[in-house]
Subunit: 145 residues, 2 copies
DNA sequence: TTCATTGCAAACCCTTTGCAAACCT
DNA sequence: AGGTTTGCAAAGGGTTTGCAATGAA
């Protein structure tokens, strides 16, 4: 059993299309939409893979913690490979899609059951995504000016 | 010229459907989807208002700063009335949709042009939404246990 | 053989758009 | 009258689902 396949899909039955999808996801180092993942798969394996298969594979990989939804772009979900197990967030480069981990600005290390606030609200979950430019893209942009 | 209408749509030409929509938005004290807003409009004015009109009105109200997109629920945008002009975020009650303002956990008072990070990334924008339970819903839930 | 997985196509949902009719001003 | 706004219906984009055919174990 291939280690990558295992990471991505656990003990699920092997399938070539899914394997190709996992490989493509691994090669895309940054954040990507399902569409971009599809393009990456097609670039390496001619056996395209149907849209439905892509979405099903992404859902599986997310379940197995191989991928994580890190935001969205133009109404499409953004995914990225993420090995970290502790609570954190991501910063996504608007230029190239590269991602980096970001500590939780709420100062929460593990997703807590609940945290109280002065106004009486109890926070049970939160969504934080940072967008910006990675060092490379920031440099490129500065040059352009 | 009605003050509410003015707030919601600025100096735009008056229209009864839009006025009804603004009234409904005002009555829904918390966060709501366009669908829920439609229901609220229908509840007070039988003249339903087409989906397109709803979306167009919401877009206008957002432009005029009367509404703000505060998150999403089940793939639909969540909107809430918001008078504040400075940079802030929202906490949305999962129970009743009520919202409250939340200070920016990144410690940013005004949306900045850019903020640097140790890893070289430059943050240009960020999305933060907190979800949880308002005091009332939290109390109800505690009773249930 | 047997059951999971694929692929296609159609369905779905939310949202947007084109356009003639209705409506403010 | 003249330009806006409405409402309908159709298009659009992303995502999901039903189902027969394929493929791994």
């Amino acid at each position: 059993m291939d280690a990558l396949y295992q990471q991505a899909f656990g003990g699920a039955r092997f399938s070539e299309p899914r394997f190709a999808i996992a490989r493509a996801a691994q090669r895309l180092s940054g954040a990507f939409t399902v569409d971009e993942l599809a393009a990456a798969v097609r670039a390496q394996d001619c056996s395209a893979g149907a849209t439905a298969t892509l979405y099903r594979a992404v859902a599986l990989m997310e379940q197995h913690g191989f991928l994580e939804r890190v935001g969205e772009r133009d109404g499409s979900g953004l995914y990225a490979q993420c090995a970290a197990r502790s609570h954190h967030h991501h910063i996504v480069c608007d230029g190239c899609g590269k991602t980096a981990h970001a500590e939780c600005p709420l100062g929460i290390a593990e997703e807590p059951p609940a945290a109280g606030r002065a106004d009486g609200f109890v926070i049970t979950r939160h969504e934080v995504t940072l967008y910006g430019l990675c060092p490379d893209c920031a440099a490129t942009q500065t040059e352009a000016c």
